[in-house]
């Protein structure tokens, strides 16, 4: 079957999987800490994409130099969502469903703001801001595109840094403690509002990073985050919604299944299957929920306990 797939497609699948992992890990982190599926993650990814596009187009800098800015802005906007919307609702004892709908509402508002910003870019700076990409600005090393090399390096760094943060620092251990049992964490003196803030900042920042890679990899529009929302949630569920490292694994499995699956199917059944690519994550999501609702993490836990 691998013969049906060219190396270029494999490279594309790895890049896509890395981007998906950045987005899925944030969803898992927030689900674990706040118990809320964050639909605003789509807008955070779009935001990251437009931060990169703006800085590159306006200042002419290398797109990858905007990575820290995208991380920071993504993190700060996620903090705004937490402080301005979710925290007041949580204090008013809103249910998880209400919080989830609030994230969806925030996504709609943020998408509106990004659309307005795109218009602003177009009218004020005469820069086209819809259906654009920065692929031509990307660098190459040994015929390998920069986005491929950068995404692999970034994902490896993120896994290592997250591991060190969560396992080797008191801040990380208190974050893990808060994820497991907020009330117990409070009773030993952990300020769980702070740990929640931290998790929202990290998740927003990672969504920003994922977003940054988008315009260098593909064409973006003001709704680019929404295009990937089903895949993000599917990768997160596939990894096991409660397992942070599972989200990375889920991101890779889904990324490969989605991209390679489409290529293989189009070669065997015909190109008519290409528009049905978004169906693949939904099928994987349905099968995961039916076979192992706790995702890959659930399978690993079952194996360990045998």
């Amino acid at each position: 079957m691998i013969l049906l797939v060219e190396l270029v497609t494999l490279r594309e699948a790895i890049t896509y999987s890395c981007i998906l992992s950045f987005l899925a890990v944030g969803i898992t982190l927030l689900y674990k800490t706040t118990k809320v599926p964050n639909f605003a993650h789509a807008a955070l990814a779009t935001l990251g994409a437009y931060v990169t596009y703006s800085l590159t187009s306006l200042l002419g800098i290398n797109p990858y130099l905007s990575l820290p800015v995208s991380f920071l802005i993504g993190g700060l906007v996620a903090l705004c969502l937490f402080f301005l919307v979710l925290e007041p609702m949580r204090r008013a004892k809103a249910s998880v469903t209400m919080l989830m709908i609030a994230t969806l509402a925030f996504d709609i508002v943020a998408s509106g703001a990004i659309n307005a910003y795109a218009d602003y870019l177009q009218t004020t700076f005469k820069i086209s801001a819809r259906n654009v990409s920065l692929i031509r600005m990307d660098f190459q090393i040994a015929s390998l595109p920069g986005v491929f090399l950068t995404s692999i390096t970034l994902i490896a760094m993120t896994v290592i840094l997250l591991y060190l943060l969560l396992n080797r620092t008191y801040l990380g251990i208190s974050l893990r403690a808060s994820m497991e049992n907020q009330i117990l964490a409070e009773t030993i003196g952990i300020n769980t509002t702070f740990t929640l803030m931290l998790s929202w900042f990290i998740a927003g920042g990672l969504a920003g990073l994922g977003g940054t890679l988008l315009p260098v990899w593909t064409q973006i529009d003001t709704g680019v985050g929404m295009v990937f929302i089903a895949s993000m949630f599917c990768a997160s569920t596939l990894g096991g919604l409660g397992e942070i490292y599972g989200a990375f694994l889920g991101g890779f499995l889904l990324g490969f299944a989605e991209l390679l699956g489409t290529v293989i199917l189009s070669k065997t059944l015909g190109t008519w299957v290409i528009p049905y690519r978004p169906v693949i994550p939904l099928i994987i999501l349905s099968v995961t929920l039916l076979v192992s609702p706790r995702g890959l993490a659930g399978i690993l836990v079952r194996r360990r306990s045998k």
Binding site: K93, Y170, E180, I183, A185, E186, T187, I190, T192
Partner: protein, 236 residues
């Protein structure tokens, strides 16, 4: 001294405790007894800022606790060993103890744990293990240790023998009495095992349907045969 005045509390619209008055002096073990659903855990949760306090006052050494968040109350010198969920199962035993110590500024972990291991030597063997792999009795030891390592002045204990074998229960109760003596710790103990609680308590409160029905010494309560029989299931 921990003082509770005219406490009315519950969760959201659910009113559970009515005009509860209670105090726990220094170095004292106060047992809260009562039938299931009488509000014993809610009382501890109210003291710790977890339940909603509708009216009344809770003071620690004259300082008001109501309205404070639990993590602030924890830093004022109160430890709380919660019923059945007193450990972080996903963390290792060492991480459980380290994070509890760190939160009150204890940096010398070896020194802090040496006292704990004096009480619960078995825990030393499990330091690197995930807490989820511990047995019921070992979990309870870790629950107590998480609170003790923080060197609290007051210690709230909710059903420390819940779900344990009689042998483990006796060990835990004996440890609580020793902790009280050696650390000079004041303890508010909620316990279903009436006989064992009465053995170590200095004073007892009987909580029935959210109200205090009796306050006195264990021997005074034991003399109230009707209360013992009606609410605590202790017959002739």
């Amino acid at each position: 001294m921990l003082e509770v005045y005219s406490l009315n509390s519950g969760y959201g619209k659910l009113h559970i405790l009515y005009d509860v008055q209670l105090n726990c002096k220094e170095r004292e073990i106060v047992a809260i007894l009562g039938p299931n659903g009488s509000g014993k855990t809610t009382l501890l949760n109210s003291i710790f800022g977890i339940a909603d306090v509708f009216s009344g006052s809770i003071k620690l050494d004259g300082q008001e606790l109501t309205g404070l968040s639990p993590h602030k109350i924890a830093k004022m010198g109160i430890g709380y060993a919660m019923q059945l969920q007193g450990i972080f199962a996903d963390l290792t035993v060492e991480e459980n103890l380290k994070i509890a110590a760190k939160m009150v500024g204890i940096t010398n972990f070896d020194e802090a744990t040496s006292t704990i291991f004096g009480f619960f030597p078995d825990l030393k063997k499990f330091l690197g293990r995930k807490a989820s792999t511990l047995s019921g009795g070992e979990r309870q030891m870790l629950t107590l240790s998480i609170s003790l390592i923080r060197k609290p002045k007051f210690f709230l204990l909710d059903e420390p023998t819940g779900g344990l074998s009689p042998l483990y229960s006796s060990n835990i109760i004996r440890s609580i009495a020793e902790i009280n003596k050696e650390f000079g710790l004041s303890i508010v103990l909620v316990e279903q095992n009436v006989r064992k609680a009465l053995e170590i308590a200095h004073r007892v409160y009987l909580l029935v349907s959210g109200r205090i029905n009796f306050e006195g010494t264990p021997s005074e309560l034991a003399a109230q045969k009707d209360l013992m029989k009606l609410y605590l299931g202790m017959g002739e």
